[in-house]
Amino acid sequence: MNTRTNGQVSTDGGRLPRSEPPPSSQKPAVRPRGEGTILVTGACGRLGKQVVRMLHRERTVVGVDRRPFPDKPKDVRHEQVDIRRKKLKDIFRSEPIEAVVHLGIMHNPRVSQAEHHSWNVAGFQKLLEYVAQFDVPKLVVLSSANVYGPQPDNAQFLTEEAPLLGGARFGEIRDLIEVDMLAQSFFWKHPETETVILRPVHILGGVHNAASNFLRLPTIPTLLGFDPMVQVIHETDVVRAIRCALAPGKRGIYNIAGPDPLPLSRAIKILRRPSIPVPYSLGKVVLKRLWSFRLTTFPAPELDHIRYVCMVDDSRARAELGYAPQVSIEDTLKSVDADVR
């Protein structure tokens, strides 16, 4: 492994003008900024597929995922590799990559902590190494607004400067915080790469995550006497935000929110689901028990999400990225049912 020397090449090379790419990735036809190849990690996830489908119409897309991509668009190159493997480097070597969109973050609370950490953090570090070594001009990392964490003393709308306290009560989110922090330090260490960190609120749609699975429950449990304001975003709005972030010149950390926030109870009403209020102390005990018997996909600390607010201020993304959500709150919420067939 030649990590050290690679790192050195990239830090020195970073100060040189971009017309001098590393020799290994030199190819005759380097397309102008905004038209080059985009590498998407986690391309076979539900969100990844949407990102690939949006991007491949205008750009060359290389999908990277260890899962297969059976229904991929014909002009998309898919590399079925684990991002921790050396083979990832070959992709960077084979053609100049203009942008990396990193979506390949694992959030499966059932997978062991060690595997999670190795995949999310070690894999991401590898990716960062290659981004630096091959002078990739753009890196977009999909973090999450959950890194701030629901807290009783949260400001109603957290700005990008708010501390990332999500891990205080909920250990499983620490990986994601670490990824976010790694991306932040990369942002400062490698100014030659435009690093964009997106922190979207709860993503709904065909995606399967804690929030969308929660809203898909036939009867939605709520906490008695708690009804926090929540923000949700439709997956296509997240894709839209990623596209905004890919524009040349954009860099920084951006909170991404969907339509106007609403109380959780109103969201459930829009979905026309029955809900059942449970006292917090009871809910916590029951959920812990269910979790230990593998009867639920929700770890007990996630109850805080239906207890306290964790909302973000997206005014920076609106002003600087030119991002604006387009899916209405009704359509965003109802999209959790659309995909279930």
Binding site: P152, N154, A155, Q156, M229, L262, P263, Y308, I329
Partner: protein
């Protein structure tokens, strides 16, 4: 079954509405229509304030204001129609003073204002309380929320004495304790005028003999006042003292919001002294606690 229940609820709410109107007059509804609320497409404001809940909350505090505490309001003309920080003395063990200032802003100030107050963060951990506060427009007391509200030209109430003020024992009544400095930095930063408010009548509604600190700590409450009147029948109700609320002339402060504490303290002292002298004058003018 469901339509029947809905009809019952509808008839109940409409009879409550009629009763409210008879007690508070048509003026209440007229003011409700005029009060500026910052609602979004989801029917609530970004802080979770729901106009339906707010209507009943305002009606209940307006009833207390008019009929139970029979509040007298002085200087209502000093409250501007744009962003404003209301700085008041805190008293009374439970924050009835906040509710009555809110009622005064809604019922007696022209044009009517909807007041926002900052609540303690520990209230957010309490079921129902956190829900109620959020639906009636009260927000968690962190600086970002205050700035956000003032940028939206709202009227924001702050008690710089905090919980130390509300749980004063009877022997220390109407003596201001130390003021926090945060409100002054906020006012300077957001160029918000400060309206000093003196509330008289709150200190006598519950007679506190002291603070049971050890128990407060165990219960994780900011204080645990010792209130002998709770042992009497209906003692949980505050005594029907007559409230008097004085709004002072707006005060404006300039300078650097990040100045040294010592510099900010001087400005805070000006506000504190103003409120204390308003209190002293009000107490001198008061003939009776209950009338």
């Amino acid at each position: 079954m469901a339509p029947l229940a809905r009809r019952l609820i509808d008839s109940a709410t409409s009879s409550v509405d009629d009763w409210m109107t008879s007690k508070l007059g048509e003026e209440f509804n007229a003011r409700l229509a005029r009060v500026p609320l910052n609602l979004t497409a989801t029917g609530v404001d970004p802080f979770g304030m729901d106009p339906q809940w707010t209507k009943y909350a305002l009606a209940s505090v307006a009833l207390l204001h008019r009929h139970y505490f029979r509040t007298e309001v002085f200087g209502a003309e000093h409250v501007p129609s744009s962003r404003v920080l209301l700085i008041a003395n805190h008293s009374g063990q439970i924050p009835i003073d906040a509710a009555l200032i809110g009622a005064a802003l809604f019922m007696d100030v022209e044009p009517p204002r909807f007041m926002r107050a900052m609540v303690e963060k520990w209230t957010q951990t309490l079921p129902f309380v956190s829900l109620l506060f959020s639906r009636v427009g009260q927000v968690v007391g962190v600086p970002d929320n205050a700035k956000h509200l003032l940028k939206n030209e709202e009227a924001l109430l702050v008690f710089p004495e905090g919980t130390r003020g509300i749980s004063k024992p009877f022997s220390k009544r109407y003596q201001l304790v130390d003021f926090g400095l945060g409100f002054m930095r906020l006012a300077i930063e957001t160029r918000t005028p400060i309206v000093p408010v003196a509330v008289i009548g709150g200190e006598e509604q519950y007679i506190s003999l002291g603070n049971f600190e050890a128990l407060a700590k165990v219960l994780k409450m900011p204080s645990f006042p010792i209130l002998p009147q709770l042992l009497l029948p209906f003692g949980a109700l505050p005594l029907p003292t007559r409230y008097r609320i004085y709004f002072g002339e707006p005060m404006r402060f300039g300078g650097d919001p990040d100045d040294d504490d010592a510099v900010i303290e001087e400005k805070v002292y000006v506000v504190k002294a103003t409120i204390q002298s308003m209190l002293n004058r009000g107490l001198k003018a008061r003939k009776s606690i209950f009338f």
